[in-house]
């Protein structure tokens, strides 16, 4: 059944088809206005699901795609899916609105842009609303492709193409791994449905394919979510237009990996490896992202690394939250909070990071640069933008009273709770988590400050700016303002989210923790008392401010890391050396010399056949059913051998030809000896005609110039050909010695005359029993003749392609 829900998912694709038409027909109106309708209407449509999901219920609609393979387009809306769907359509609306002002309709090829964007939107909806893993994978790949196209939107720029390729290769690598993982899951459970797989998760826990499947799927999630060390594509993806960066590369697509981890937690989270991998990679990424962000001077690069870091943070919380499933004996509430924090921060991140990206876009748009070394003092020129920057950055830095503070506190709680994992005696490792988290938060604080104060504080350096800055047009400010107000609203009233969105989503991630009909209680509030978390935050602010002010003194730390060891360099080197090596390897054997190719082929031929022959002990030599040998036959055999050898070693073309003729005639004679008159006749005439042909062609060909008698060359050839001859002979002898069945030819003597009316069996076979052979054999002859005619008469000049 194809339902409205399916239509909702497909709608952006359908709209994408209309975009180029609209772009051509209605060129006066910015195409974005039409496009805006799509996410907006979808947002409203999805809001309707809120009452359903907040009761922990779900909606499923199945449309059969390839049921024979267990692939059906099963649209499935539950808390988690809806959360993402709202995020996608909500932020999507804002981004499209923003893009209308950001991209000029005169200069840009908007048709392409919006097609890609809508494609992405549909794909993303498909990812989060599909229950079938194959369908999910389908949409997953489409997000990668649309991301590729959006990054390379300004395709004339070298850097755009570089970034696009990088993102595609890395995400596709993950995608392919994920596909294999999905198939492995299918091997274990015989279904592609996530719900059904989750239902049997306890059975597959000890399956030998469980761990490989998990690792492969995590690889998919990590590459998509730019987790360390696959994060390197994200900064380069910033070559995309800023609306794209805000939408794909911070708010939605990169969160597809997080979605996948969350979605598959019910399947995998029972194993300890899942917990440690997800949390471990998350925290590493958190640290590495925040640490790297500080060194950059391009605003977008800072935001990119910040995104990497925040994604790591969310993931680490999900990992910790999974502990609720892994340990069934401990107090679940300790860890459930982590999951809630993850989801909450996911939303918060979308709000503040989205607004920050848009803010950077505005700055870039108005000043013509994003380099903080050139920027500064914009506070007075662009007050609204400045406000957006301050609120967004402070929220990101985890300062009250914004929503970032709340989730940061919850994050610290989650990390501190890890230390109680002493159940399996890793408390020493567990302690690392809160420490790293805290250090990462300090860096987060620092780059947040950099964003605000290096851009808006200090002196205005008009001479370094490509264009004179103004406050942005109002239309461009709407979207960031909406987002930034959400930052404040969620900061003060976090609980408007907690029961409608977060709790149902948690139910999807941790279904087994809940008893039937039970719901999660998520209460988020500012004041917890003088907890360790609060002191940690105070420490962050104190130390962060100190470090921010003294940044010049310690930024030398970054130069301690040699550039050549970075993962970026590794990627570049891999491609470069890979291509070089491929070229070398190929150049090594693809010499263009047919002689070389033949040598390879013959060596393979003999080696593999001889190996099989001896390895399988197939060599049999018997004289049981062989025909008797007589003297003249032996002499003729010798004759044939000699004439063949003469052909082989003759150095004049006439000698070659004459001895070839002799060879052919002797073969004909063997046909006489072995009682094949028709063959003898045919062979004789054909040999003569062939010789005549050779003579004819000799007119056009030069005499054989003596091969440069390189002994090694000749010997090599000789050895190869000798091996070929021996192989043929040995197999022949063995095949002759192993006649397992009677030949079918006993049929022909009687049938020839009685059924086919001919006395010459060979001829009867040729024209009747196997007449088809003959029919197509004369076709071969005919083609050959016409081919020769064509080859000689038709002579086109030059190397033509068409």
């Amino acid at each position: 059944m194809f339902t409205a829900l399916h239509f909702a998912i497909i709608a952006p694709f359908l709209a994408a088809i209309l975009v180029p038409i609209l772009y051509k027909l209605v060129s006066r109106i910015h195409t974005g206005w039409f496009v805006l309708l799509v996410p907006f209407l979808l947002f409203i449509y999805f809001i309707q699901f809120l009452p359903i999901t907040s009761n922990n219920e779900s909606v499923t609609a199945v449309f059969d795609w390839i049921p024979s393979l267990g692939i059906s387009f099963a649209a499935y809306v539950d808390g988690l899916g809806l959360l993402f769907a709202l995020l996608i359509t909500g932020i999507g609306s804002l981004v499209v609105l923003y893009s209308i002002y950001y991209l000029s309709k005169e200069k840009e090829s908007l048709n392409n842009f919006y097609v890609y964007l809508l494609m992405f939107m549909g794909a993303m909806l498909g990812v989060v609303l599909s229950d079938n893993l194959i369908v999910l994978y389908t949409f997953w790949e489409i997000t990668s492709i649309s991301s590729f196209l959006l990054i390379s939107y300004w395709y004339e720029r070298e850097k755009s193409r570089y970034g696009a390729l990088k993102s595609m290769l890395i995400t596709m690598l993950g995608g392919f791994a994920m596909l294999v993982g999905i198939v492995l899951l299918y091997q274990m459970t015989n279904t592609f449905s996530i719900q059904e797989i989750a239902a049997s998760s306890s059975e597959i826990l000890n399956h030998p394919l469980f761990l490989p499947a998990m690792l492969l799927i995590l690889l998919g999630a990590f590459t998509k979510s730019a987790q360390f060390p696959f994060h390197i594509w994200l900064p380069d993806a910033m070559e995309a237009p800023t609306p794209v960066s805000a939408y794909l590369h911070s708010a939605t697509m990169v969160k597809a990996g997080i979605y996948l981890v969350a979605r598959l937690s019910p399947v995998f989270a029972f194993s300890g490896e899942w917990l440690w991998l997800v949390a471990g990679f998350g925290i590493t990424t958190l640290f590495w992202g925040s640490f790297s962000a500080v060194r950059h001077t391009d605003l977008k690069a800072i935001l990119a690394y910040s995104t990497v870091s925040q994604l790591g943070m969310i993931l680490s919380m999900l990992g910790v939250g999974a502990a609720a499933l892994h340990f069934d004996s401990i107090d679940n509430n300790l860890y459930i909070g982590a999951t809630a924090a993850a989801l909450f921060h996911l939303i918060n991140h979308a709000t503040f990071k989205g607004s920050l990206f848009m803010m950077v876009g505005i700055v870039d748009h108005e000043t013509g640069t994003r380099d903080i070394r050139h920027l500064g003092g914009l506070m007075t020129v662009m007050p609204i933008t400045f406000t957006i920057a301050v609120i967004g950055s402070f929220s990101m830095a985890g300062l009250p009273p914004f929503n970032g503070f709340l989730s940061k506190e919850m994050f610290f709680t989650a990390m501190l709770n890890i230390t109680t994992f002493n159940l399996f005696s890793v408390d020493t490792i567990g302690i690392v988590f809160p420490i790293v988290a805290w250090i990462a938060s300090i860096f987060t604080f620092i780059y947040s400050m950099i964003i605000v104060f290096k851009t808006f504080g200090g002196k205005l350096q008009l001479n370094k700016l490509p264009s004179k800055p103004h406050e942005a047009p109002f239309g461009m400010l709407i979207s960031p303002l909406v987002l930034i107000s959400l930052v404040i609203v969620f900061g003060f009233f976090p609980n408007i989210l907690s029961y409608t969105v977060i709790a149902p989503a948690m139910a999807s991630i941790l279904p087994s923790v809940l008893a039937n009909g039970e719901q999660f209680h998520v209460d988020i509030y500012f004041w917890h008392g003088w907890t360790l978390e609060l002191f940690m935050t105070l420490g962050v602010v104190a130390l962060g401010s100190l470090l921010y002010l003294s940044i010049r003194k310690w930024s030398g730390v970054y130069s301690l890391f040699p550039e050549t060891l970075s993962f970026n360099k590794l990627y570049d080197q891999t491609l470069f050396t890979g291509e070089r090596a491929a070229s070398r390897i190929t150049g090594l054997y693809m010499t263009g010399s047919i002689r070389h190719y033949l040598v390879y082929i013959f060596i393979f031929f003999t080696a593999i056949l001889i190996a099989t022959l001896f390895g399988k002990d197939a060599l049999t030599l018997t004289t049981d059913n062989t025909a008797p040998v007589s003297v003249h036959e032996l002499i003729l055999a010798a004759m044939l051998i000699f004439s063949a050898l003469t052909v082989m070693f003759a150095s004049k073309r006439m000698t070659v030809l004459i001895s070839l003729g002799v060879t052919g005639y002797t073969v004909a004679l063997f046909f006489v000896i072995f009682r094949a008159p028709d063959l003898a006749l045919t062979q004789l005439i054909i040999e003569t005609v062939s010789v005549a042909l050779f003579l004819l062609c000799f007119y056009h060909l030069p005499n054989i110039t003596k091969d440069l008698k390189k002994v090694r060359f000749q010997t090599g050839n000789f050895i190869v050909s000798l091996a070929v001859g021996i192989t043929i002979t040995l197999i022949g002898i063995s095949a002759n010695g192993t006649r397992l069945f009677e030949s079918i030819s006993g049929f022909f003597p009687e049938a020839s005359y009685d059924l086919a009316g001919g006395k010459n069996m060979v001829n009867v076979i040729l024209v009747d029993f196997r007449g088809t052979d003959t029919l197509f054999e004369i076709l071969v002859l005919g083609i050959a003749a016409l081919g020769i005619f064509t080859m000689i008469k038709l002579r086109l000049a030059g190397r033509d392609r068409l």
Binding site: L179, Y186, S745, T772, L794
Partner: protein, 496 residues
Amino acid sequence: MHMINILIAPILIPLLTGTILLLIPKKITAQRTISIIAGIVLIAVNIFLVLDVYQNGIRTLELGGWTPPFGIVLVGDMLALLLVTTTSVLSLPVLLYSFRSIGREREKFYYYSFYYFLITGVSGAFITGDIFNLFVFFEVMLIASYILIVHGGTKVQLRESFKYVLVNVISSALFVGAVAYLYAVTGTLNMAHLSERIGSLDETVPILTVIAVMFLIVFGLKGALFPLYFWLPGSYAAPPPAIAAIFGALLTKVGIYSLFRTYSLIFVNDTAFTHTLLGILAGITMIAGVIGAIAHQDVFKILVYNVIVAVGYVLFGVSVLNDSGFNGAIFYLIHDMIIKAALFLLVGTLVFVAGTSKLKKMGGIIKYYPALGWMFFVAVMSLVGVPPLSGFIGKLLLIQGGANAGDYWLVATMMISSLLVLYSMIRIFLNGFFGKPTLERPDQFSTAKGLLWPSALLIALSVLVGLGAELLYPLVDIAATTLLQPEIYIEAVLKE
């Protein structure tokens, strides 16, 4: 008209078309008209046959009325007919492309006849149920391919076809030798009968293994299996794109088909050895092919090496010897035939409009030829196996087949090679279609436009095969089942 003879139609229609066209070499319009009509009729008949076999099971035709194994029998099982149908379906767009691109000179010199003779050979090779008759059809196909590759007689064509012909002549001789050995041991030529006889053996017969390996080499040479594919890159890059398209789409496939057929029907005496060997070679082929693709900066060469990669994928599916693997191999085979034809045509057009085949010298083509660029992009995605395009289903089933058989390393190899395929092809898109435009003005615009329709048809077909996989799947499944259970084939042919 009696229905019994309908199975000869896929061979007879192109044969008669080609022959009749011989009589009117100078009348180009008439030649084109006849070719088109024949192409359409061929497709219709083939689809009819597929549906017929779907409903009534394998159809056989005992040529001359002689009961097998004494006469030659044509066997229309699902695999054969699916491939024959695909052949006819993709040959029509390529034909349309030829109208626009091949040039009057070539048309006057029997181009369409040779084209249809090639299809005759290919279709015959798919349908025949006799191993020696297979050789004959191989020769029909080959001799037609020889002349097509050299058709026009330019320098590069002559140079490359010399190598191509040489390798194939040798492999033909080895084919005869292999048939000779097989006949010595089994005393029969009919494939069903061979299968029955070999199947009746209780234990492995070493010499049969050797012969199986020899057939592997013979068909591997035609099918471009590692390390036997060296002849391919040069020769496929030499002729005009229409011819290259039909080569890339069909020629290696016949070799693959023959391996598929013989390695499921006949040589199942010692699968532990033969199929493992096939699997290993398939794995190396995937990697070696893609290494070649990455090594080159010439768009034609990149594409040509990708032909080799696909050979590895399909044969990997053959080697696992299970249901999913076979399904995957058939799906992928059909997909690859379509998409390779499309890609060759697109790349041919690209080279035409760019005026060069060197990647480094082109750029920004998409600015003037957006349709060409986007079709190419979709084709690449399909090639790589991005869902929901046609390449995906095959790849999915191949992964399943590999997993079922426990050949995880081969699965991994396939995925890595897929990624590299993506890299090799997307470079063309990024550097050729994207990038700074190098064209001063698109002066060939009007000419090139008509070249796009055939590729569009093929791409649409690829999308259809992907999205409509459910329609195709039952057919493919029947084909795979027939391959897995030789009894069905034997029963249908020998009627015992």
